[in-house]
Symmetry: C2
Subunit: 304 residues, 2 copies
């Protein structure tokens, strides 16, 4: 199967008033993203993926695939803190034919060693035991507090070539992303910066695209830069992307993305987040939308 | 039901070579702890509780209770990062008649607000919907990275008096433990320092006992100080406890506890930990045991 590349969104998860996930709105949002050539990294950090149980995630995955979403466009997050949870969810994603999985290291214990992390990933790989598995290592130390080091990647690539397919780097540190690219870019290891702020820079250094929260709200423009990064317009496009990103990033990201979708789709249910997150205040929502409007931002074709 | 107090151990979880939990050795270790008047905070941080799935924890709880372990002596850890996991595990513990549950806040997202944490605990309480529920809030910022503030406890106590029964404070900061005691000690809020290093100091300020990793290895002496803290010997006892604690704390705690149990029980299987943790090296084990022996440390009556 061809490797998944390009722009992916850690798809935000819509909840009903009782905090149950709403598969219908999720499907609709996924279709909208796909229509703009944005792939689906469901159950990422911005999906509130770790606020969902394994059962909820399996049910949602099944619902999407049953309803025609192509698993070849999906890279679900499957790294949990408990070993068997990661194994179960990863095996299910592979069985459904997902292009890959985005795997957090176990994230409860801190200051763990590369040896311990190597064993964690190795256990999942051995137990899933399927050559179709493609793992994208998820480096997001600001949240997980557990980093994926160069030495760990080196060891994993050597032990599981082909299976270890790449990484999402949400360190927010270009030097780290560049070190991933410089060290492993020529070994079939696809590096996705965790924000479109690094999309052009990443592509110029051999990056595979990006997996970015704001692709939930601004998919068309981000995907356009990916498609046209070698044109003379690329720098100007990147600046415009940075402007929109900057607006969202000045609010708590997940509630802000949901507030924007709620506003532009006209469906207020979208504002709901699961605890421990909290939705934006009315004042924040008004300010966000006003900033977005002033920047000429639109979300065309959204279905409530 | 009478409140659980005294000394509790976050019971270490024995694993077989295939990393499956071994219920038989767990039962044996629980019985040994109970025989020394140490209660059972199974599925705590030192139990590798967050490396176990909800199913594994439910199965182990059922096994212990079915085999005669009194739920009145149990305070299982039930706080997970996913809402429904916390609800399911907590409801099960209440159904079994456990004296209380030790509840971590959701621990994936960082820099969350007290409002978000209040909603998290409130959702679990409302969904479990059982007046027998007794929640001990688990403050362990060095690991969870999510603190239980005074303001949060105040609000929870007001909304759920009786249900919010106390806290384990593993901040390692006596000033924080003391603030819990000073603010809420007279409101039926039982405070357990997270280490026996603060046992005597805690009891002198109205603490309820302690919940400490090293109670897995040194239960008799720690329980003795709890029973005799008002005698003239208390300070000398505390110094002896600190000495043993200091030895364990100079190694990675969980592997060190398991290494000691393996050595003194003669069952090497006890050394096994789940990734991302790593067992002690042979050299570390030898050094640990030699230090413990020199300090006159023993674990009498352990069953392999």
């Amino acid at each position: 199967m061809q490797r998944i590349t390009g722009v992916l969104a850690p798809v935000v998860t819509p909840f009903n008033a009782d905090l149950a996930p709403d598969p219908i709105r999720l499907l609709s949002h996924c279709r909208w993203l796909l229509s703009h050539n944005v792939g689906l990294a469901v159950f990422g950090t911005n999906s509130e993926g770790n606020s969902l149980s394994v059962e909820e995630k399996i049910d949602l995955l099944d619902y999407l695939v049953t309803n025609g979403v192509s698993p070849a466009r999906m890279m679900p997050g499957t790294g949990c803190s408990a070993l068997l949870d990661s194994v179960r969810l990863t095996a299910h994603a592979v069985k459904l034919g997902c292009a890959g999985v985005l795997m957090l290291p176990p994230f409860y214990y801190k200051a763990v060693s590369d040896e311990g992390l190597f064993r964690s990933f190795a256990e999942v790989i051995e137990r899933v035991g399927d050559s179709r598995l493609r793992i994208y290592l998820y480096n997001i130390p600001p949240v997980s507090q557990v980093a994926i080091t160069i030495a760990l990647i080196e060891r994993l690539l050597k032990a599981y070539p082909g299976i270890i397919a790449g990484a999402k780097d949400s360190s927010g540190d270009w030097e780290n992303t560049r070190a991933y690219l410089d060290n492993f870019g020529d070994q079939g290891f696809d590096v996705f910066p965790g924000s479109e702020s690094f999309l052009l820079q990443g592509l110029r250094h051999g990056g595979a695209g990006c997996i970015s929260a704001t692709a939930n709200a601004n998919p068309e423009s981000i995907a356009r830069l990916f498609a046209t990064w070698q044109t003379s317009d690329a720098e100007a496009q990147q600046l415009r992307l940075d402007k929109v990103r900057g607006i969202f990033a000045s609010y708590p990201m997940i509630p802000a993305l949901k507030a924007a979708i709620a506003h532009y789709s006209g469906n207020e249910s979208w504002t709901t987040v699961r605890p421990p997150l909290v939705e934006l205040t009315k004042e924040q929502m008004t300010a966000l939308v006003s900033e977005l409007d002033r920047a000429g931002f639109r979300m065309a074709g959204l279905i409530a």
